[in-house]
Symmetry: C2
Subunit: 300 residues, 2 copies
DNA sequence: TCAAAAGTGTTATCCTTACACCCATGT
DNA sequence: ACATGGGTGTAAGGATAACACTTTTGA
């Protein structure tokens, strides 16, 4: 085995939702995701990451899942003699105890991806973005058509509907087309805040993964405090998805799945009528699959 | 940065479906998955892997997606002074051109996971497996109950239904309980063929991923030849899922999605009435999401 | 003629979506 | 009274699952 030595680095996309805003833990004043070397002392990748998140931030991490491993070389200016392999993880933490207290900074997702938040309608930036992308399609027919199609699907243009899950794909298109080059290209009001190296791409990966996951696994509850109202739960999902949901249907959906139960207590903190408080039914189906089959089974 | 140096290795779960049997490419006579070092010369992880699959096997790989990165240390007996990071990929190849010709061996998935093939009913091995697992649950009430629940869900016992997608979870339970220790533990007729190091676990990861993916992305077509009949398509999906599907409903599903079109040609190779041949509509929706929304949207 | 596979049609049921409306509290 | 949020009921439409049946070939 010849040249197979590399640096190994762990990167975390740690997210929480506070005040109806999804946030990510950052270092360097919001410029980078927290990361650190994978050391010999670590039992495994997961435990390595856990240890050092605890050290650096004091936050207990509930859910932790591997995101993706990167090694492409348009990453940070390193001597080309040795590569860095970055193993990224998505972690979910509960509404944090000490928000303004510490060194690690929490920044809103949509500071980096303003076009991803559709809760108050389609963001204005999308018009500019669409124009830029159309121009980028070029004129050579076959390439043009192909790009056109990708763009329409990704951004919900031309009859296609917006799909929140395509967040990574959208970022990749913007990157390819030169709109979000981290070198400080476009006007940030439209194209969002850049990050160090490829960290914004990793964040996009995390957002896309989480948006997909909440639909078939009960991971939202990792972000909620012990007890919560149905509206709080809905607002949290909305914050993550960047969409508004239909209230009564949301409630129906939730209680069909029997994932939560009433605590008996009542919250009167909201504007109107006091709401029942609920808790997640931990004990019950830890491993439950929420999905329907999608394949036409035949019993036998 | 201190001790962050590691060996980097690429591992491939390359699969094809031939003769209604899903197969995986192996080396060492079926004992191991093909793997190789990640070298400095490689532009990226993907391209590194592609290059060397081409070199070693001559098969062109269509679809390639990252599976998981492992670094836990109960892996192959290496000097503990340096770790190996294994980055695994799932690759799909078309019904291979030279099946018996070459050195690399293709082995059926279900040689390694006999309990995963439910096309001819529930495999007999599951009775033995269930017994063993029940015993393993122990007597201490709270642990017992927890394990019991996991097992019932994973294996479709006690009122739960079998879910093909839980293949990895099932393997992990069997591993934890000592039934499939790669050291040559149980009777292989029931517990399947072991593999080198943790390769069988990686294969299980690939199987689980692919079984999930075929439901929401048109990846099956990467395994089909240029034109195919509807029954061939169905048999391929069945082989992967390890389940039998309902014929007419399967057909309806397929043409609702408008993923294929008639070639105009007819195949008379099957037993009975000749079938229309179809092809995948490449051009059309490369990036299409097949999934329904699963969130109760509210338009505004 | 029969077996094997290709196809068509119809029905009951469930889930999703949308809409309409009432309830409880604070200002 | 009314704004705000909590909460219930129901009906239309579409997707799924199950079943029954016809058609076309080769042996």
């Amino acid at each position: 085995m010849k040249n197979a030595l590399a640096h190994a680095e762990l990167i975390a996309v740690l997210t929480a939702v506070t005040g109806e805003e999804p946030r990510v833990m950052t270092v360097r004043g919001g410029d980078a995701l927290p990361s650190g070397p994978f050391e010999l002392g670590h039992r495994s990748l997961q435990s390595g990451l856990r240890e050092w998140i605890r050290e650096q931030t004091g936050h207990p991490v509930g859910y932790l899942e591997q995101l993706y491993t990167f090694a492409d070389r348009d990453r940070s200016p390193t001597p080309a003699s040795r590569r860095t392999i970055s193993i990224s993880y998505l972690g979910l933490v509960r509404e944090q105890a000490a928000p303004g207290a510490g060194k690690p900074g929490w920044h809103g997702w949509y500071e980096y991806f303003p076009w991803e938040d559709h809760r108050r309608g389609r963001p204005d930036q999308l018009a500019l973005i669409a124009d830029h992308l159309r121009a980028w399609c070029g004129v050579e027919p076959s390439r043009r058509e192909h790009r056109q199609r990708r763009i329409d699907f990704a951004f919900g243009l031309n009859g296609a509907v917006w799909n929140e899950e395509f967040a990574l794909h959208r970022y990749e298109l913007l990157y390819e087309s030169g709109l979000v080059g981290e070198a400080g290209a476009g006007p940030q009001a439209a194209t969002g805040r850049p990050m160090f190296a490829d960290h914004r791409r990793i964040l996009a990966t995390g957002i896309a993964r989480l948006r997909a996951k909440i639909k078939y696994r009960p991971v939202v509850f990792e972000l909620m405090s012990e007890s919560f109202t149905l509206l709080q739960l809905q607002r949290t999902v909305e914050a993550l998805a960047g969409l508004t949901l239909h209230k009564s249907n949301f409630r129906r959906l939730i209680d069909q799945q029997q994932l939560i139960e009433e605590t008996g207590a009542i919250s009167s903190e909201s504007g109107g009528r006091p709401a029942k408080l609920y808790r997640y039914r931990h004990a019950v189906l830890e491993e439950r699959a929420l999905s329907g089959s999608k394949l036409p089974l035949s019993r036998n």
